[in-house]
Amino acid sequence: MAGNAPTASEYVVHHLTHLNNTGHAQANIVDWSVINLDSMFYSISIGLLTIFILWLAARKATSGVPGRFQGFVEMMVEMVADQAKGIIHSAESRKFVAPMALTVFVWIFLMNAMDLLPVDLLPRIWEGVYAAGGGDPAHAYMRVVATADLSAALGMSCGVLLLCIWYNIKIKGLTGWIHELFTAPFGSHPLLYPVNFLMQIIEFVAKTVSHGMRLFGNMYAGELVFILIALLGGTATMFGFVGHIVAGTVWAIFHILIITLQAFIFMMLTLVYIGQAHESH
C-alpha cells in the first residue's frame, strides 16, 4: 500500500460499506429510505444471467440426446424436482414451488460465487470509474456479494415467508389456518390459545430470520476472511505474500464448498418451509 493508503481498519470498513442512494454509509440500523445500489445491481444482473442460462437450456430442450449444457441444466432441474417431490406432496403447488427453488438455487449460487473474484477487483475498478467521474475514491463503495447483504438475504427469506403464508391459506383456508394458529401445537383449549399463537409467531419469525441470517452470516464471514487475507498480502512482506497465496488458495477452495452448500441449504429450506405450510398439525 502506498503512503496515503488507508489503515487496515479503514480498508475493512470501506470494503464492508454498501454503495447506496445516500452516497455514505447508512447511519441507522433500519432505514427504509435507503437502498443498496450495489446489491441491487449485482443481484438483478446475476438474476437475469440465471434465468437467461436456464432459458437457453429450456429453449433448446429436446427429448433426444442432450448436449453437455442441456444435460447439466437437466441434472439441476431433476435434482430440484426430486427434492420438491419428496418434500411437497401437492403436484399443483410444485408447479410454482419447484421452479422457484431451482431459480433460488442457481441465483444464490452465482451471487455467492462473486465471492471467488479477487476481493479488490470490482471495487478497485469502481473506484477508478468513480474518480474519473470526479468523485472521491474514498467514498466509492462497492460490495459485490449480494447475499452478504443482510437486507438482500432477509428479502429472499421474507419471500419464502410470504409463500408459506400463501400456501397455508390456500391449502387450509383462511379460517382453517387461523384455527391452526391458535390450536396447534399444544391443543385446542381457550387457555392454550395465546400460548399456541405465540409459539406459531415465534416459529414463523425464527424460521424466516434464521433462513436469511444463515445465508448472510456465511457469506459475510467468507467475504470478511477474504478481506483479511488481502490485508495480509497488503503488508508487502515475504510472509504476507506467501501467506496471501496459501491462505487465499485454501480459503477459496474451501469457499467453493460453502457457496454451493449455502445455495443448496437455502433451496432445501425453502422447500421444507413451504412443505410445512401444506401439513396440518
Partner: protein, 157 residues
C-alpha cells in the same frame, strides 16, 4: 449490516425470477425430460420384446428343423418302401412273364409236337397203306378200302 429498502426490492426480484422460471424454463425442460423418459421406456420395452421374439424364433427354428428332419426320414422310409415294392412288383412281373413265356413256349411246343405227331401219323398211315399196298397190290382197292384206311388212321391217333 443494516436493514433497508433493499429487502423489499430483493423480495420483488425473488418473485419475478421465480415467476419467469415457472413460466419459461421449467415446463419445456420437464416436458423434454418426461418425453425422453417415455422414449427410453419404450426403447427398453421394444428391446425386451425383440429379445423374447428372438428366443421364440429360435425355438421355432429348432422345431422346424426337427420336423424337417423327421419328414425327411419319413420320405426316405417311404421311398425305400416304394422302391422295394417296385422291385418286388418288377420281380413278380418278370417271373410272371417268364412263366407266361414258358407256358406259351410249352404250349407251342406241345402243338408242334402234336402236329408233328399227326404228320407222323399221317405218314405212318400212308407208309402203312403204301406198305400194305405194295404187299397187297392187287387185293386192295383204294376206293374200296378207303374207309378201312381211315379207321386205321383214326386208331393210330
Amino acid at each position: 449490516m443494516n436493514l433497508n429498502a433493499t429487502l423489499i426490492a430483493q423480495l420483488v426480484v425473488f418473485f419475478i425470477l421465480g415467476w419467469f422460471t415457472m413460466k419459461f424454463v421449467w415446463p419445456p425442460i420437464m416436458k423434454a425430460l418426461d418425453e425422453r423418459a417415455t422414449k427410453i421406456a419404450d426403447g427398453l420395452t421394444a428391446a425386451d420384446k425383440a429379445k423374447s421374439d428372438l428366443a421364440l424364433a429360435e425355438k421355432k427354428v429348432v422345431e422346424e428343423l426337427r420336423k424337417a428332419r423327421e419328414s425327411a426320414g419319413d420320405v426316405r422310409t417311404s421311398a425305400e418302401k416304394q422302391a422295394s415294392k417296385l422291385i418286388d412288383e418288377a420281380r413278380a412281373e418278370a417271373s410272371r412273364i417268364i412263366t407266361q413265356a414258358r407256358e406259351a413256349a410249352e404250349a407251342e411246343a406241345g402243338v408242334a409236337a402234336q402236329r408233328a405227331k399227326e404228320a407222323l401219323r399221317d405218314q405212318v398211315a400212308h407208309l402203312a397203306v403204301a406198305g400194305a399196298e405194295k404187299i397187297l397190290r392187287r387185293e386192295i382197292n383204294t376206293q374200296v378200302h378207303a374207309e378201312l384206311l381211315a379207321n386205321l388212321k383214326q386208331e393210330l391217333q
